[in-house]
Symmetry: C2
Subunit: 204 residues, 2 copies
DNA sequence: GCATTATTGCAGCGATCGTTGCGTTGGTGC
DNA sequence: GCACCAACGCAACGATCGCTGCAATAATGC
């Protein structure tokens, strides 16, 4: 993955990007995303095909085929769109309060069957589908830790915080039938904060 | 079979399906399972269909359709078979040693791309596919904790141990491109053991 | 061995999928 | 308003999927 030199071929001043984020395109994308979410909530991902999605969205199958290269790409896009909308990072003034509220929000969000279905499908089809689901969550976690560090407090690394918070929350939601509740998630945050000053495992 | 024989001590306890576990059926099942694993390691799960599996396994597609109701059932069966084979529960004499070795084994196992692909696919297709992947792991965890409890030691609950060990390990393996290594997993076990006597979050 | 029957192979069929060429709609800039 | 062109709808096609008859094979019990 060699880093290329500064690429100036993108977004020239004169020539605008060939895309067209017009009103109809936005409507189609919204309709297709909604159709994917609704269908995943009803039937298993095995029966999710492009024509079925198109019919549910009220658009022609050709449109879906042309706009999204594969079903995996579509699912990744749906997941990314779904998990980047609500970016309300808590700011309670203390790391403990922020993490408690954030963990409770994440755990509560994963209670929704539709949300779970999207994550399952995105994980199943494309390899990078998982990253699309949690990328924004990890950024939120990092911003809260940075804020505490600016206040002069001792904070764990982002990796360790993700391990101790997102790890149990997502694991329970995906692999067990009974996901953890908000109280349980808050106690996860307490556990992390109580031990964040101790020697931490370094990621291998 | 009109008359009931006296001693029907056939191997129906843990042999397999009660119908006819003959040599050919076993060969077909093995071949199909192997084909699923190999195909998942090569192409994304999206391209995994019954005829493709059958061709790879060297059997007729009809056979696959008749033996497994759906692709989700087949994937769950493959996952369950894959994760119930190696049942080597560590017994080092101490809870810390057991958990350290067990966590390292689990983390190392999830390094294999084939294993990851099976879990992803099983999670994506059927809802209960996730349970088929981790059911045995959880049992192993419980047996190690029971052993320590019999020795008189203080042990965390199975839920908490699963949260702190399986949570981070599976989360990193599934949602990030860089899964945790054996050393990192051992330190997870250390963290759990060091805090197992403190007040524990009760599952919600 | 021999009969029984579960299991597999085979051929073929509707249905659906994924793609392509072309005409039409509608967003964008003037 | 008007022209331009990206985006969408439409129709048709080959390919593949999923299923169902019936025949052949081989595992099981006697």
């Amino acid at each position: 993955m060699a880093s290329r030199t500064a690429d100036t071929t993108r977004s020239d001043a004169a020539a605008g990007p060939p895309t067209r984020p017009g009103g109809r395109s936005a409507r189609v994308r919204t309709a297709v995303h909604r159709a994917v979410i609704e269908l995943l909530a009803q039937a298993p991902a095995e029966q999710l095909t492009m024509p079925v999605i198109a019919a549910r969205a009220g658009v022609h199958p050709t449109t879906v085929y042309r706009r999204w290269a594969s079903l995996g790409d579509l699912l990744s896009a749906v997941a990314e769109s779904r998990f980047t909308d609500d970016l309300v990072v808590p700011d309670t003034g203390s790391l403990r309060g922020d993490l408690r509220r954030w963990a409770a929000d994440v755990a509560t969000d994963l209670t929704d069957p539709e949300t779970l279905a999207i994550i399952r499908a995105a994980l199943g089809t494309s390899t990078e589908g998982g990253c699309a689901c949690i990328g924004e969550r990890r950024t939120q976690l990092g911003s809260m830790l940075d804020r505490e560090r600016d206040r002069g407090g001792a904070v764990p690394t982002v990796d360790r915080a993700a391990d101790m918070l997102m790890g149990p929350i997502y694991f329970r939601a995906l692999f067990t039938e009974r996901p953890g509740g908000a109280d349980w998630a808050r106690e996860l945050a307490d556990t992390l904060v109580d031990h964040c000053t101790q020697p931490q495992p370094s990621p291998a």
